[in-house]
Amino acid sequence: MSFDLLVSVSLVYVGLLFVIAYWAERRALRGGVRWLRSPLVYTLSLSIYCTAWTFYGAVGYASRSGLEFLTIYIGPTLVLIGWWWCLRKLVRIGRSQRITSIADLISSRYGKSALLGGMVTVIAVVGTTPYLALQLQSVTLSFGVFAEGTPGSFPVPDQRATAIWVAGGMAVFAILFGTRNVDANERHHGVVTAIALEALVKLFALLAVGSFIVWGVAGGIGEVAARINASPLAEIPLDRSRWLALIFVSGAAILVLPRMFQVLVVENEDERHLATASWAFPLYLAAMSVFVIPIAAVGMSELPSWANPDLFVLTLPLAHGHDMLALLAFLGGFSSATSMVIVAAIALATMISNHIVLPLWLSLRAEAPGNLRAVLLTSRRLSIAGVLALGYVYYVWSGGGRELAAIGFVSFTGVVQVMPAAVGGIFWRGATRIGAAAGVSLGAAVWAYTLFLPSFGEGVVFSAATFADGPFGIGWLRPHALFGIEGLDPVVHSVIWSMAVNCAGFLLGSIASFPTPVERLQGAQFVNVFDYSRGPRGWSQSKAEAEDLLIMAQRILGPREAQDLFAAEARIQGKAGFLPDTTPDFLDRLERELAGSVGAATAHAMIGQIAIGTTVSVEDLMAVADEAAQIMEHSIQLQAKSEELSRTARQLREANQKLTELSVQKDSFLGQISHELRTPMTSIRAFSEILMDSEGMEAQERQRFAAIIHDEAQRLTRLLDALLDLSVLEHGQASLNRESVRLRDVIARALAATGSINPDRGLAVRRDTLDEDILICTDTDRLAQVFINIIANARKYCDAAEPQLRIAVQRRGGKVSVDFIDNGSGIPVQSQSVIFEKFCRLSDQSAAGSAGLGLAICREIMQKLGGAITYLPGQGGAAFRVTLPVESAEKAA
């Protein structure tokens, strides 16, 4: 067979895949996805689990380890037939939470943790890169087989060039069909259909080669059984620890391998497809492996011992001259490699762009992104190219010389480190971000130390001495015998230690830490997914109903505004009426309008509810809660402010009232003052005018008038003196000259000073001088002024026939009270409250010369002295009580 034929067949095959994928995409766009998304296609798409490792490597694996190769199919078989336990929940969560990858699952479960998403992505990339290299290697090797088989007819079979061409072609395919759009669902109809076709090709190819070997070469089932039992295969003992460990690892891997998660969960169209896959996929796996032992046994007996068992599937038909069968087998292997690489590249690219590129991009650019879609698409395309480039680099670096199966288990064990966090997260609400991060990182570290780094061989990362004696001669740290546990197979050793450390870290970290609110909400939604989500639901997105939007907008914006907005939009779209098409532009505008009313997060959630038919995500809810909290805080501030304002207003009102009262007081005071001043002024003017016109006035008459003028002027002076005095006292400008004095002396002085008033009416004064013998500290002149005023009043106004004044001094508690009680008619009850007011005169008959300020001044003076003057009713006459604080008395004593 010529190289040209091989290349053209490959190219035609790839072209066919392109056509199928393109056609499926078109059909999906037009909605004709019914049979494209049948349970059969779903099951076949799962077959990317069977990579070139399976197609070529299983035979090589079987020829070295006997039945052990079955473990990598038994694990997934057990997981699939137990779909009701775990897969069903995983798929339901993936659909209800719109999970896009295994990294997204873990990040989302643990409170949308960017750190965890990044960690899982890194582990996935590190774990998958050797696997990609493995696929490149197997395709390159299979090209090489044909080159060796027909020497001379090939141009130079440069393996690296072949690998570059293969990697480049796969990158183009993956970019074309894997990054066509950034759908929220991350479904790729074209790719899924293409890999379903590839699944059929590889199954058919392997079954064809197997049937040829069993019936064409060996001559029947009985013959094959005899050959198997006679072959060296039959003497290979079964390693029990590997049997257990590898079943566990492969079973866990099918849940968490990025590409398997992509087809199992992300590309799942209908939960019920899982029911079909639960038996159909194990059947597919059994069919893929049923001929492996026969091919290995026959190959070992027929082909020379130097032949690579990894390539028996190709070399056996070639050795028997069946070129077309070999070509079919080649296409089968090619299919296995391409389908795996394409899906893995898409899955990894999604993870890299969503969990590494985007967070970095967003954190580096402070402003809001304009077109995130373009960034996403570009980063995914670059990621696909980058992932394949990594695979190529690994292939070139590792030299492509090792057994296929060995690389596979290194990869599996690494990726499985994600499993405790993933499965624990969907069954245990107590799992926390800290626990998941601890488990994943510790497990990955142990895996890297015990399996990944040693897998490069002695002298590459670890020296031979490190393998033999441990790093720095620490024996219990030997990579293949941690803590001195020797004799274990390296893979089993790594699985046991990494899973033990991983689970311990996960459990302890989760138990010891406290989850954030988002984490707890997400945990509840994941673990109780069947309580919160409805049954299987189609993914057909219900179109936004303009009417529903209008109803909602009316509620928020008000009917007229909402109708205007909708009508305007309809006019722009060239429609009549109120219901425009719900284009993305319109939805954006509406959301902005609504956001003005209810906040951005709420508006987004509300539009999303109607337009996309999704449930509100936890983040939306948290954002709503944040906004609500802000609004509440704002309103609390407003309330505080309004309280403060009303307090101020109250104070202002009071101040205003006081000012008004003061103004009234001032007015009345001015009125009284002018009245008081005018009366003497009028008489002064009148009498002075008379004097001026008096030519022939008698001297006696003139004298009398001048005396009147003199008296009135004196009255005015007294009035003004009293006013000044009062003003000084009221404004606190009066200075007090405190001195020690005996109360008796003050009273005596006051009595002496008033002796000249009404001397014709004898006022009998009764006092007890013993009681008055109290030393006080006060302004003597001022106190005497008060006493004089009171005694003068008694002299002036006491209307008793035999007026008498009794002065009684008493010590009451901390005060000294001096009562002045006369035996007159006293002050009427209704007047008692006003006698201390300014210009208060009860009668004016005998009040010539009184300004009515005396008692007001007394009150001011007593306040200044720290005492008080009050009217004492019920004493059988006018009675005033002057109270002085006793402190001043004691201080003096």
Binding site: G66, L67, L70, I74, T77, L78, V79, L80, I81, G82, W83, W84, W85, V224, A225, A226, I228, N229, A230, S231, L233, A234, E235, P237, L238, R240, W243, L244, I247, R272, A275, T276, S278, W279, A280, P282, L283, A286, V290, I293, N528, F530, D531, S533, R534, G535, P536
Partner: protein, 96 residues
């Protein structure tokens, strides 16, 4: 977690569906037992054949049995899932 009104007994249809779910849950347990039988096989002495063909046939028979049982249960379960009301399909509650 359960609502206030959880029926204690179910009608025949739902009862059958729940037993199918039980069966579906039990299959992997049998699968584990069947696939762990090789751990009991005696190790061959050096140079002695093990009857590899028969052992392989056992594993594939077990495999086929599991596929058949799972197939029967899944197909029945699937048809009942389609019939059931949405909340019936959700199957969150453990009712008999």
């Amino acid at each position: 977690m359960n609502g206030p009104r959880v029926p204690l007994f179910l009608e025949r249809q739902s009862y059958r569906r729940r037993r199918l779910v039980d069966a579906s849950r039990a299959v992997p347990v049998f699968g584990i037992i069947l696939f762990f039988v090789p751990l009991l096989w005696p190790q061959p002495e050096p140079g002695e054949a093990t009857g590899l063909a028969e052992r392989g046939i056992y594993l594939f028979l077990a495999w086929g049995l599991l596929v058949a049982v799972t197939g029967v249960i899944s197909v029945r379960l699937q048809s009942r899932l389609q019939e059931g009301a949405p909340e019936e399909r959700a199957e969150g509650k453990d009712v008999l």
